[in-house]
Protein backbone atom coordinates (compact mmCIF):
# COMPACT_ATOMS: atom_id res chain seq x y z
CA UNK A 1 0.00 0.00 0.00
CA UNK A 2 2.79 2.38 0.92
CA UNK A 3 4.77 1.29 -2.08
CA UNK A 4 2.02 2.03 -4.52
CA UNK A 5 1.82 5.58 -3.18
CA UNK A 6 5.55 6.10 -3.47
CA UNK A 7 5.67 4.69 -6.96
CA UNK A 8 2.69 6.70 -8.09
CA UNK A 9 4.33 9.94 -7.01
CA UNK A 10 7.79 9.04 -8.25
CA UNK A 11 7.28 10.31 -11.78
CA UNK A 12 5.45 13.45 -10.78
CA UNK A 13 8.26 15.76 -9.57
CA UNK A 14 10.03 16.07 -12.89
CA UNK A 15 7.12 17.48 -14.84
CA UNK A 16 5.92 19.65 -11.97
CA UNK A 17 9.42 21.00 -11.31
CA UNK A 18 9.56 22.25 -14.87
CA UNK A 19 6.09 23.75 -14.93
CA UNK A 20 6.78 25.33 -11.53
CA UNK A 21 10.06 26.89 -12.58
CA UNK A 22 9.18 28.05 -16.08
CA UNK A 23 6.96 31.07 -15.21
CA UNK A 24 9.25 32.70 -12.65
CA UNK A 25 12.24 31.99 -14.85
CA UNK A 26 10.47 33.67 -17.76
CA UNK A 27 9.84 36.81 -15.72
CA UNK A 28 13.38 36.79 -14.37
CA UNK A 29 14.88 36.50 -17.85
CA UNK A 30 12.65 39.31 -19.11
CA UNK A 31 13.75 41.55 -16.23
CA UNK A 32 17.43 40.82 -16.78
CA UNK A 33 17.19 41.49 -20.51
CA UNK A 34 15.39 44.80 -19.93
CA UNK A 35 18.07 45.77 -17.44
CA UNK A 36 20.88 44.85 -19.84
CA UNK A 37 19.31 46.74 -22.72
CA UNK A 38 18.52 49.78 -20.59
CA UNK A 39 22.06 50.01 -19.22
CA UNK A 40 23.54 49.60 -22.68
CA UNK A 41 21.20 52.12 -24.26
CA UNK A 42 21.64 54.77 -21.58
CA UNK A 43 25.39 54.22 -21.22
CA UNK A 44 25.24 54.24 -17.42
CA UNK A 45 28.59 54.20 -15.58
CA UNK A 46 29.26 50.71 -14.22
CA UNK A 47 30.05 52.24 -10.83
CA UNK A 48 26.47 53.47 -10.70
CA UNK A 49 24.60 50.58 -12.31
CA UNK A 50 26.50 47.76 -13.99
CA UNK A 51 24.88 45.56 -16.61
CA UNK A 52 23.90 41.99 -15.67
CA UNK A 53 26.44 40.72 -18.14
CA UNK A 54 29.19 42.70 -16.42
CA UNK A 55 28.07 41.45 -13.01
CA UNK A 56 28.24 37.89 -14.22
CA UNK A 57 31.58 38.25 -15.92
CA UNK A 58 33.33 40.20 -13.16
CA UNK A 59 31.70 38.04 -10.51
CA UNK A 60 33.06 34.95 -12.25
CA UNK A 61 36.54 36.43 -12.37
CA UNK A 62 36.37 37.20 -8.65
CA UNK A 63 34.89 33.79 -7.83
CA UNK A 64 37.72 32.61 -5.56
CA UNK A 65 37.59 35.78 -3.45
CA UNK A 66 33.81 35.62 -3.27
CA UNK A 67 33.93 31.98 -2.26
CA UNK A 68 36.56 32.71 0.41
CA UNK A 69 34.21 35.31 1.83
CA UNK A 70 31.15 33.07 1.56
CA UNK A 71 32.58 30.45 3.90
CA UNK A 72 32.88 32.65 7.03
CA UNK A 73 29.40 34.04 6.38
CA UNK A 74 28.00 30.53 6.17
CA UNK A 75 29.80 29.57 9.34
CA UNK A 76 28.37 32.57 11.20
CA UNK A 77 24.92 31.82 9.82
CA UNK A 78 24.98 28.27 11.11
CA UNK A 79 26.37 29.15 14.52
CA UNK A 80 24.04 32.12 14.95
CA UNK A 81 21.02 30.18 13.82
CA UNK A 82 21.89 27.27 16.08
CA UNK A 83 21.98 29.65 19.04
CA UNK A 84 18.74 31.23 17.84
CA UNK A 85 17.05 27.82 17.68
CA UNK A 86 18.25 26.95 21.16
CA UNK A 87 16.92 30.21 22.53
CA UNK A 88 13.64 29.83 20.67
CA UNK A 89 13.04 26.29 21.89
CA UNK A 90 13.92 27.19 25.45
CA UNK A 91 11.66 30.22 25.49
CA UNK A 92 8.80 28.45 23.77
CA UNK A 93 8.93 25.47 26.12
CA UNK A 94 9.12 27.71 29.19
CA UNK A 95 6.18 29.72 27.90
CA UNK A 96 4.27 26.55 27.12
CA UNK A 97 4.72 25.24 30.63
CA UNK A 98 4.07 28.43 32.56
CA UNK A 99 1.00 30.59 31.94
CA UNK A 100 2.60 33.33 34.00
CA UNK A 101 5.71 33.35 31.86
CA UNK A 102 3.50 33.40 28.78
CA UNK A 103 1.74 36.53 29.93
CA UNK A 104 5.01 38.08 31.05
CA UNK A 105 7.26 37.22 28.13
CA UNK A 106 5.12 37.33 25.02
CA UNK A 107 4.49 41.11 25.11
CA UNK A 108 8.18 41.69 25.79
CA UNK A 109 9.19 39.46 22.90
CA UNK A 110 6.86 41.35 20.60
CA UNK A 111 8.20 44.67 21.87
CA UNK A 112 11.77 43.45 21.41
CA UNK A 113 11.09 43.34 17.69
CA UNK A 114 10.38 47.07 17.74
CA UNK A 115 14.03 47.79 18.63
CA UNK A 116 15.99 48.91 15.58
CA UNK A 117 18.88 46.47 15.52
CA UNK A 118 20.84 48.71 13.18
CA UNK A 119 21.14 51.21 16.03
CA UNK A 120 22.28 48.76 18.66
CA UNK A 121 24.44 46.61 16.39
CA UNK A 122 27.43 48.99 16.77
CA UNK A 123 26.92 48.88 20.53
CA UNK A 124 26.92 45.10 20.40
CA UNK A 125 30.30 45.26 18.70
CA UNK A 126 31.62 47.57 21.40
CA UNK A 127 30.26 45.32 24.10
CA UNK A 128 31.26 41.99 22.63
CA UNK A 129 34.12 42.64 20.24
CA UNK A 130 34.22 41.46 16.67
CA UNK A 131 34.67 37.73 17.00
CA UNK A 132 31.86 35.24 16.50
CA UNK A 133 29.98 36.42 19.57
CA UNK A 134 28.53 39.71 18.30
CA UNK A 135 27.60 38.13 14.99
CA UNK A 136 25.93 35.27 16.76
CA UNK A 137 24.03 37.75 18.89
CA UNK A 138 22.86 39.82 15.92
CA UNK A 139 21.79 36.74 13.96
CA UNK A 140 20.00 35.34 16.98
CA UNK A 141 18.28 38.67 17.63
CA UNK A 142 17.09 38.85 14.05
CA UNK A 143 15.85 35.27 13.82
CA UNK A 144 14.76 34.00 17.23
CA UNK A 145 11.43 35.79 17.17
CA UNK A 146 9.69 34.14 14.23
CA UNK A 147 10.90 30.72 15.37
CA UNK A 148 9.74 31.27 18.94
CA UNK A 149 6.36 32.53 17.80
CA UNK A 150 6.02 29.60 15.41
CA UNK A 151 6.78 27.15 18.21
CA UNK A 152 4.47 28.75 20.77
CA UNK A 153 1.78 28.78 18.14
CA UNK A 154 2.50 25.17 17.26
CA UNK A 155 2.28 24.01 20.86
CA UNK A 156 -1.01 25.84 21.17
CA UNK A 157 -2.34 24.25 18.05
CA UNK A 158 -2.47 20.95 19.86
CA UNK A 159 -5.98 19.60 19.90
CA UNK A 160 -7.46 20.25 23.35
CA UNK A 161 -9.22 16.94 23.16
CA UNK A 162 -5.95 15.17 22.46
CA UNK A 163 -4.63 16.62 25.70
CA UNK A 164 -7.76 15.42 27.48
CA UNK A 165 -7.25 11.97 26.00
CA UNK A 166 -3.71 11.91 27.37
CA UNK A 167 -4.87 13.17 30.74
CA UNK A 168 -7.52 10.47 30.88
CA UNK A 169 -4.67 8.00 30.38
CA UNK A 170 -2.96 9.53 33.40
CA UNK A 171 -0.25 11.49 31.58
CA UNK A 172 1.34 14.31 33.57
CA UNK A 173 2.18 17.67 32.00
CA UNK A 174 5.56 16.47 30.80
CA UNK A 175 4.20 13.32 29.15
CA UNK A 176 1.44 15.36 27.53
CA UNK A 177 4.19 17.55 26.13
CA UNK A 178 6.32 14.72 24.83
CA UNK A 179 3.51 12.60 23.39
CA UNK A 180 1.27 15.31 21.93
CA UNK A 181 2.30 18.94 22.15
CA UNK A 182 5.80 18.45 20.80
CA UNK A 183 4.91 16.39 17.73
CA UNK A 184 1.87 18.61 17.08
CA UNK A 185 4.12 21.67 17.00
CA UNK A 186 6.63 20.32 14.50
CA UNK A 187 4.80 21.36 11.32
CA UNK A 188 4.52 24.93 12.62
CA UNK A 189 8.15 24.76 13.63
CA UNK A 190 9.27 23.95 10.13
CA UNK A 191 7.25 26.80 8.69
CA UNK A 192 8.90 29.14 11.18
CA UNK A 193 12.29 27.60 10.47
CA UNK A 194 11.94 28.58 6.85
CA UNK A 195 11.28 32.21 7.72
CA UNK A 196 14.09 32.18 10.24
CA UNK A 197 16.75 30.72 8.00
CA UNK A 198 16.08 33.30 5.29
CA UNK A 199 16.60 36.06 7.82
CA UNK A 200 19.69 34.33 9.25
CA UNK A 201 21.78 34.86 6.13
CA UNK A 202 20.86 38.51 5.73
CA UNK A 203 21.39 38.85 9.49
CA UNK A 204 24.93 37.53 9.10
CA UNK A 205 25.63 39.99 6.29
CA UNK A 206 24.25 42.70 8.49
CA UNK A 207 26.41 41.68 11.45
CA UNK A 208 29.47 41.76 9.25
CA UNK A 209 28.69 45.22 8.02
CA UNK A 210 29.03 46.36 11.57
CA UNK A 211 32.41 44.84 12.13
CA UNK A 212 34.20 41.85 10.66
CA UNK A 213 37.39 40.65 9.12
CA UNK A 214 36.06 38.49 6.37
CA UNK A 215 32.71 37.48 4.99
CA UNK A 216 30.30 38.47 2.24
CA UNK A 217 29.09 41.51 4.17
CA UNK A 218 32.52 42.98 4.59
CA UNK A 219 33.38 42.06 1.02
CA UNK A 220 30.37 43.99 -0.23
CA UNK A 221 31.28 46.96 1.94
CA UNK A 222 34.82 46.93 0.62
CA UNK A 223 33.79 46.59 -2.98
CA UNK A 224 31.32 49.41 -2.53
CA UNK A 225 34.08 51.69 -1.35
CA UNK A 226 36.21 50.61 -4.27
CA UNK A 227 33.39 51.63 -6.62
CA UNK A 228 32.97 48.00 -7.71
CA UNK A 229 29.18 48.03 -7.80
CA UNK A 230 29.36 45.03 -10.12
CA UNK A 231 31.07 42.93 -7.48
CA UNK A 232 28.70 44.20 -4.79
CA UNK A 233 25.79 42.95 -6.85
CA UNK A 234 27.57 39.69 -7.63
CA UNK A 235 27.96 39.14 -3.88
CA UNK A 236 24.29 40.08 -3.37
CA UNK A 237 23.36 37.41 -5.90
CA UNK A 238 25.52 34.84 -4.11
CA UNK A 239 23.89 35.77 -0.79
CA UNK A 240 20.42 35.35 -2.26
CA UNK A 241 21.42 32.03 -3.74
CA UNK A 242 22.74 30.79 -0.41
CA UNK A 243 19.52 31.88 1.33
CA UNK A 244 17.35 30.14 -1.22
CA UNK A 245 19.40 26.95 -0.93
CA UNK A 246 19.13 26.92 2.86
CA UNK A 247 15.43 27.65 2.51
CA UNK A 248 14.96 24.66 0.25
CA UNK A 249 17.04 22.54 2.59
CA UNK A 250 14.42 23.02 5.29
CA UNK A 251 11.97 21.13 3.09
CA UNK A 252 14.39 18.23 2.95
CA UNK A 253 14.78 18.34 6.71
CA UNK A 254 11.02 18.49 7.13
CA UNK A 255 10.51 15.42 5.01
CA UNK A 256 13.16 13.55 6.95
CA UNK A 257 11.99 14.53 10.42
CA UNK A 258 8.22 14.60 10.07
CA UNK A 259 7.54 12.32 7.09
CA UNK A 260 3.98 11.75 8.29
CA UNK A 261 3.18 15.41 7.77
CA UNK A 262 3.82 15.64 4.05
CA UNK A 263 2.50 12.13 3.45
CA UNK A 264 -0.72 12.87 5.23
CA UNK A 265 -1.10 16.11 3.34
CA UNK A 266 -0.51 14.38 0.04
CA UNK A 267 -3.00 11.64 0.81
CA UNK A 268 -5.82 14.19 0.98
CA UNK A 269 -5.49 14.79 -2.74
CA UNK A 270 -6.33 11.20 -3.66
Amino acid sequence: MKNSITVKRATAPRTTAFSALAPPAAILVALVITWQVAVMAAGVQPAILPSPQRILQQGWEARTTIWDNTLPTLQETFLGFAVSLTVAWTLAILIDFSPWLRRALVPLLVASQAIPIIAIAPLIVIWFGFGMLPKTIVIALVTFFPVTVGLIDGFNRTDREAINLLRSMGANRWKQFVYVRLPSALPSFFTALRIGIAYAVTGAIFAEYVGAERGLGIYMAMMKNSFRTDLVLAAVAVTALVSVCLFLLTYVAERAIIPWHSKERRSWHG
Binding site: P46, G211, K224, N225, F227, L231
Partner: protein, 320 residues
Amino acid sequence: SATGTASSTALTPVAFALDWTPNTNHTGLYVALEKGYFTQAGLEVKVLPYSQSSTDALINAGSADFGISFQDTATFAAAAGVRNISVMSVLQHDATAIGVLASRDDIRSPKDLDGKTLGLADPSATFPTEASDVIKNDGGTGEFRKITLGTSAYEALYAGKVDFTSAFTTWEGIDAALRGTPMKFFALHDYGLPDQYSVIVEANRAWTAKHPAATAQFVQALQKGYQYAADRPDAAAKILIDANPGAFENTELVYQSQKKLSASYLKDANGKVGTQTAETWQQLADFLYRAGLLADEDGKPLTTALDTSTLFTEHYLNEK
Protein backbone atom coordinates in the same frame (compact mmCIF):
# COMPACT_ATOMS: atom_id res chain seq x y z
CA SER B 1 22.97 85.04 13.28
CA ALA B 2 22.57 86.70 9.91
CA THR B 3 20.55 84.23 7.91
CA GLY B 4 20.40 86.11 4.65
CA THR B 5 17.26 88.07 3.90
CA ALA B 6 15.27 86.06 1.41
CA SER B 7 15.60 87.82 -1.90
CA SER B 8 12.92 87.64 -4.53
CA THR B 9 15.22 85.72 -6.89
CA ALA B 10 15.06 81.96 -6.53
CA LEU B 11 18.07 80.44 -4.75
CA THR B 12 20.13 77.76 -6.50
CA PRO B 13 19.86 74.53 -4.49
CA VAL B 14 23.13 72.83 -3.57
CA ALA B 15 23.44 69.47 -1.80
CA PHE B 16 26.57 69.07 0.28
CA ALA B 17 27.60 65.64 1.61
CA LEU B 18 29.54 65.18 4.83
CA ASP B 19 32.22 62.52 5.32
CA TRP B 20 31.58 62.04 9.06
CA THR B 21 29.45 63.42 11.81
CA PRO B 22 30.05 67.17 12.31
CA ASN B 23 33.55 68.01 13.48
CA THR B 24 36.11 70.77 13.08
CA ASN B 25 36.92 69.67 9.53
CA HIS B 26 33.49 71.15 8.73
CA THR B 27 33.70 74.41 10.64
CA GLY B 28 34.00 76.55 7.51
CA LEU B 29 30.81 75.07 6.14
CA TYR B 30 28.82 75.87 9.27
CA VAL B 31 30.31 79.35 9.46
CA ALA B 32 29.28 80.02 5.87
CA LEU B 33 25.81 78.66 6.63
CA GLU B 34 25.35 80.61 9.84
CA LYS B 35 26.84 83.83 8.52
CA GLY B 36 24.62 83.66 5.46
CA TYR B 37 27.47 83.63 2.93
CA PHE B 38 25.63 81.09 0.82
CA THR B 39 22.32 82.92 0.82
CA GLN B 40 24.06 86.13 -0.07
CA ALA B 41 25.59 84.26 -3.01
CA GLY B 42 22.14 83.12 -4.14
CA LEU B 43 22.59 79.53 -2.98
CA GLU B 44 20.45 77.31 -0.80
CA VAL B 45 22.78 74.75 0.73
CA LYS B 46 21.39 71.53 2.08
CA VAL B 47 23.75 69.49 4.26
CA LEU B 48 23.56 65.74 3.77
CA PRO B 49 24.69 64.04 6.98
CA TYR B 50 27.18 61.22 7.08
CA SER B 51 25.78 57.92 5.90
CA GLN B 52 26.80 54.50 4.74
CA SER B 53 27.51 55.86 1.28
CA SER B 54 30.92 57.42 0.65
CA THR B 55 30.90 61.03 -0.49
CA ASP B 56 32.94 60.12 -3.58
CA ALA B 57 30.15 57.78 -4.69
CA LEU B 58 27.36 60.19 -3.78
CA ILE B 59 28.94 63.06 -5.73
CA ASN B 60 29.77 60.82 -8.68
CA ALA B 61 26.15 59.64 -8.87
CA GLY B 62 24.86 63.21 -8.60
CA SER B 63 23.12 62.51 -5.29
CA ALA B 64 25.24 65.33 -3.89
CA ASP B 65 26.71 68.28 -5.77
CA PHE B 66 29.62 68.91 -3.40
CA GLY B 67 31.07 67.14 -0.42
CA ILE B 68 33.96 66.53 1.91
CA SER B 69 36.46 63.92 0.76
CA PHE B 70 40.14 63.02 1.05
CA GLN B 71 42.94 63.31 -1.41
CA ASP B 72 43.86 59.63 -1.24
CA THR B 73 40.36 58.26 -1.74
CA ALA B 74 39.69 60.85 -4.45
CA THR B 75 42.82 59.74 -6.32
CA PHE B 76 41.88 56.10 -5.95
CA ALA B 77 38.34 56.89 -7.15
CA ALA B 78 39.58 58.81 -10.17
CA ALA B 79 41.60 55.78 -11.26
CA ALA B 80 38.49 53.64 -10.92
CA GLY B 81 36.58 55.90 -13.32
CA VAL B 82 34.93 58.29 -10.90
CA ARG B 83 34.64 61.75 -12.46
CA ASN B 84 34.65 64.10 -9.49
CA ILE B 85 36.83 67.18 -9.22
CA SER B 86 38.45 68.69 -6.14
CA VAL B 87 37.55 72.38 -5.96
CA MET B 88 39.40 73.33 -2.78
CA SER B 89 41.51 71.84 -0.06
CA VAL B 90 40.44 72.07 3.56
CA LEU B 91 43.57 70.92 5.37
CA GLN B 92 46.86 71.89 3.79
CA HIS B 93 48.65 68.95 5.38
CA ASP B 94 47.93 65.40 6.38
CA ALA B 95 46.19 65.54 9.75
CA THR B 96 45.53 61.81 9.80
CA ALA B 97 47.97 59.32 11.19
CA ILE B 98 48.29 55.79 12.51
CA GLY B 99 46.95 56.01 16.05
CA VAL B 100 47.61 53.64 18.96
CA LEU B 101 46.85 54.03 22.64
CA ALA B 102 49.63 55.92 24.39
CA SER B 103 49.60 53.27 27.08
CA ARG B 104 50.78 50.60 24.62
CA ASP B 105 54.46 50.23 25.53
CA ASP B 106 54.73 47.26 23.22
CA ILE B 107 54.16 49.54 20.24
CA ARG B 108 57.04 51.98 19.91
CA SER B 109 57.26 52.39 16.16
CA PRO B 110 55.30 51.22 13.14
CA LYS B 111 57.26 47.98 12.75
CA ASP B 112 55.76 46.83 16.06
CA LEU B 113 52.37 46.76 14.31
CA ASP B 114 53.27 43.57 12.44
CA GLY B 115 50.73 40.92 13.32
CA LYS B 116 48.56 43.39 15.19
CA THR B 117 44.95 44.31 14.46
CA LEU B 118 43.87 47.35 12.49
CA GLY B 119 40.39 48.72 13.19
CA LEU B 120 39.23 50.50 10.07
CA ALA B 121 37.04 53.52 10.60
CA ASP B 122 35.58 52.98 7.17
CA PRO B 123 36.35 50.33 4.62
CA SER B 124 38.78 52.71 2.99
CA ALA B 125 40.54 51.19 0.03
CA THR B 126 43.71 53.18 0.58
CA PHE B 127 44.62 53.34 4.25
CA PRO B 128 45.63 49.68 4.83
CA THR B 129 48.11 49.88 1.93
CA GLU B 130 49.47 53.19 3.17
CA ALA B 131 49.89 51.75 6.68
CA SER B 132 51.54 48.63 5.30
CA ASP B 133 54.00 50.77 3.41
CA VAL B 134 54.77 52.75 6.55
CA ILE B 135 55.50 49.55 8.46
CA LYS B 136 57.74 48.21 5.69
CA ASN B 137 59.63 51.47 5.53
CA ASP B 138 60.18 51.10 9.26
CA GLY B 139 61.62 47.64 8.80
CA GLY B 140 58.56 45.50 9.39
CA THR B 141 56.81 42.98 7.11
CA GLY B 142 53.63 45.07 6.75
CA GLU B 143 51.35 42.14 7.59
CA PHE B 144 48.46 42.71 10.02
CA ARG B 145 44.87 41.75 10.67
CA LYS B 146 42.26 44.09 9.26
CA ILE B 147 38.81 44.52 10.82
CA THR B 148 36.24 46.79 9.29
CA LEU B 149 34.35 48.45 12.13
CA GLY B 150 32.96 51.67 10.71
CA THR B 151 32.25 54.32 13.24
CA SER B 152 32.95 51.99 16.18
CA ALA B 153 36.65 51.84 15.39
CA TYR B 154 37.64 54.41 17.99
CA GLU B 155 35.61 52.92 20.79
CA ALA B 156 37.18 49.58 19.89
CA LEU B 157 40.62 51.19 20.15
CA TYR B 158 39.87 52.77 23.52
CA ALA B 159 38.50 49.46 24.75
CA GLY B 160 41.69 47.70 23.59
CA LYS B 161 39.82 45.51 21.10
CA VAL B 162 41.96 46.71 18.18
CA ASP B 163 45.60 47.79 18.31
CA PHE B 164 45.69 50.64 15.84
CA THR B 165 43.52 52.69 13.57
CA SER B 166 43.61 55.68 11.28
CA ALA B 167 42.63 58.85 13.09
CA PHE B 168 42.69 62.58 12.84
CA THR B 169 45.35 63.83 15.25
CA THR B 170 43.32 67.03 15.30
CA TRP B 171 40.08 65.35 16.36
CA GLU B 172 40.28 61.82 17.69
CA GLY B 173 43.73 62.63 19.09
CA ILE B 174 42.39 65.48 21.21
CA ASP B 175 39.24 63.57 22.10
CA ALA B 176 41.32 60.64 23.38
CA ALA B 177 43.45 62.92 25.52
CA LEU B 178 40.39 64.64 26.99
CA ARG B 179 38.90 61.26 27.81
CA GLY B 180 41.99 60.24 29.72
CA THR B 181 43.01 57.53 27.26
CA PRO B 182 45.50 59.47 25.14
CA MET B 183 46.77 58.22 21.79
CA LYS B 184 50.17 58.37 20.20
CA PHE B 185 50.59 58.76 16.46
CA PHE B 186 52.85 57.69 13.62
CA ALA B 187 52.49 60.26 10.85
CA LEU B 188 52.58 58.71 7.38
CA HIS B 189 54.91 61.37 5.98
CA ASP B 190 57.47 60.56 8.68
CA TYR B 191 57.87 57.13 7.10
CA GLY B 192 58.41 57.95 3.46
CA LEU B 193 54.92 58.81 2.28
CA PRO B 194 54.24 62.16 0.64
CA ASP B 195 52.27 64.78 2.53
CA GLN B 196 48.67 65.23 1.35
CA TYR B 197 45.57 67.33 1.74
CA SER B 198 43.82 64.98 4.09
CA VAL B 199 40.54 66.87 3.69
CA ILE B 200 39.30 68.33 0.40
CA VAL B 201 36.02 69.60 -1.08
CA GLU B 202 34.89 67.67 -4.13
CA ALA B 203 32.34 68.59 -6.77
CA ASN B 204 30.31 66.73 -9.35
CA ARG B 205 32.09 67.57 -12.58
CA ALA B 206 28.93 67.74 -14.66
CA TRP B 207 27.30 70.06 -12.15
CA THR B 208 30.24 72.47 -12.24
CA ALA B 209 30.13 72.50 -16.02
CA LYS B 210 26.42 73.24 -15.98
CA HIS B 211 26.57 75.86 -13.20
CA PRO B 212 29.99 77.54 -13.52
CA ALA B 213 28.88 80.75 -11.86
CA ALA B 214 27.13 79.02 -8.98
CA THR B 215 30.16 76.79 -8.50
CA ALA B 216 32.42 79.81 -8.12
CA GLN B 217 29.91 81.47 -5.80
CA PHE B 218 29.71 78.36 -3.69
CA VAL B 219 33.42 77.68 -3.48
CA GLN B 220 34.15 81.26 -2.61
CA ALA B 221 31.49 81.40 0.09
CA LEU B 222 32.84 78.20 1.58
CA GLN B 223 36.39 79.48 1.32
CA LYS B 224 35.25 82.60 3.17
CA GLY B 225 33.81 80.41 5.89
CA TYR B 226 37.04 78.48 6.32
CA GLN B 227 39.02 81.71 6.23
CA TYR B 228 36.89 82.96 9.11
CA ALA B 229 37.58 79.71 10.98
CA ALA B 230 41.28 80.09 10.36
CA ASP B 231 41.27 83.65 11.60
CA ARG B 232 38.88 83.40 14.55
CA PRO B 233 39.05 79.84 15.95
CA ASP B 234 37.03 80.42 19.10
CA ALA B 235 34.16 82.23 17.40
CA ALA B 236 34.12 79.62 14.64
CA ALA B 237 34.16 76.75 17.14
CA LYS B 238 31.16 78.29 18.90
CA ILE B 239 29.29 78.52 15.62
CA LEU B 240 29.97 74.83 14.97
CA ILE B 241 28.80 73.90 18.46
CA ASP B 242 25.61 75.96 18.23
CA ALA B 243 24.77 74.57 14.83
CA ASN B 244 24.89 70.99 16.13
CA PRO B 245 23.04 70.75 19.42
CA GLY B 246 23.72 67.56 21.33
CA ALA B 247 26.53 66.46 19.04
CA PHE B 248 29.42 67.48 21.27
CA GLU B 249 29.41 66.07 24.74
CA ASN B 250 32.58 67.97 25.64
CA THR B 251 32.79 71.34 23.86
CA GLU B 252 36.39 71.70 24.98
CA LEU B 253 37.24 69.20 22.23
CA VAL B 254 35.90 71.59 19.62
CA TYR B 255 37.77 74.61 20.92
CA GLN B 256 41.10 72.80 21.26
CA SER B 257 40.75 71.10 17.91
CA GLN B 258 39.80 74.27 16.10
CA LYS B 259 42.74 76.11 17.67
CA LYS B 260 45.14 73.46 16.41
CA LEU B 261 43.62 73.38 12.90
CA SER B 262 43.58 77.14 12.61
CA ALA B 263 47.17 77.36 13.73
CA SER B 264 48.76 74.64 11.59
CA TYR B 265 46.46 73.13 8.96
CA LEU B 266 44.00 75.55 7.37
CA LYS B 267 46.28 78.21 5.96
CA ASP B 268 48.92 77.81 3.29
CA ALA B 269 52.26 79.57 3.42
CA ASN B 270 50.55 82.76 2.31
CA GLY B 271 47.87 82.58 4.96
CA LYS B 272 45.27 81.64 2.36
CA VAL B 273 42.83 78.74 2.71
CA GLY B 274 41.68 76.30 0.04
CA THR B 275 44.68 76.39 -2.29
CA GLN B 276 45.96 73.22 -3.97
CA THR B 277 49.14 72.47 -5.89
CA ALA B 278 49.80 70.08 -8.76
CA GLU B 279 52.85 68.78 -6.91
CA THR B 280 50.96 67.59 -3.87
CA TRP B 281 48.38 65.88 -6.09
CA GLN B 282 50.88 64.21 -8.41
CA GLN B 283 53.25 63.06 -5.63
CA LEU B 284 50.56 61.14 -3.82
CA ALA B 285 49.17 59.67 -7.07
CA ASP B 286 52.66 58.52 -8.07
CA PHE B 287 53.17 56.94 -4.67
CA LEU B 288 49.82 55.13 -4.86
CA TYR B 289 50.59 54.02 -8.41
CA ARG B 290 53.94 52.59 -7.38
CA ALA B 291 52.32 50.84 -4.46
CA GLY B 292 50.06 49.12 -7.01
CA LEU B 293 46.97 50.48 -5.37
CA LEU B 294 45.41 52.26 -8.30
CA ALA B 295 43.11 50.10 -10.41
CA ASP B 296 40.79 50.84 -13.28
CA GLU B 297 37.06 50.21 -13.25
CA ASP B 298 37.55 46.52 -13.99
CA GLY B 299 39.86 46.20 -10.99
CA LYS B 300 42.99 45.88 -13.20
CA PRO B 301 46.02 47.72 -11.77
CA LEU B 302 46.90 50.80 -13.81
CA THR B 303 49.81 50.32 -16.18
CA THR B 304 50.66 53.97 -16.59
CA ALA B 305 50.86 56.66 -13.92
CA LEU B 306 47.73 58.68 -13.28
CA ASP B 307 47.66 62.23 -14.55
CA THR B 308 46.23 64.32 -11.70
CA SER B 309 46.14 67.65 -13.49
CA THR B 310 42.41 67.30 -14.17
CA LEU B 311 41.49 66.01 -10.72
CA PHE B 312 41.59 69.38 -9.02
CA THR B 313 41.18 73.03 -9.90
CA GLU B 314 41.88 76.32 -8.21
CA HIS B 315 39.79 78.01 -10.86
CA TYR B 316 36.83 78.76 -8.58
CA LEU B 317 38.80 80.11 -5.63
CA ASN B 318 38.70 83.69 -4.51
CA GLU B 319 41.55 85.60 -6.17
CA LYS B 320 42.33 87.78 -3.15
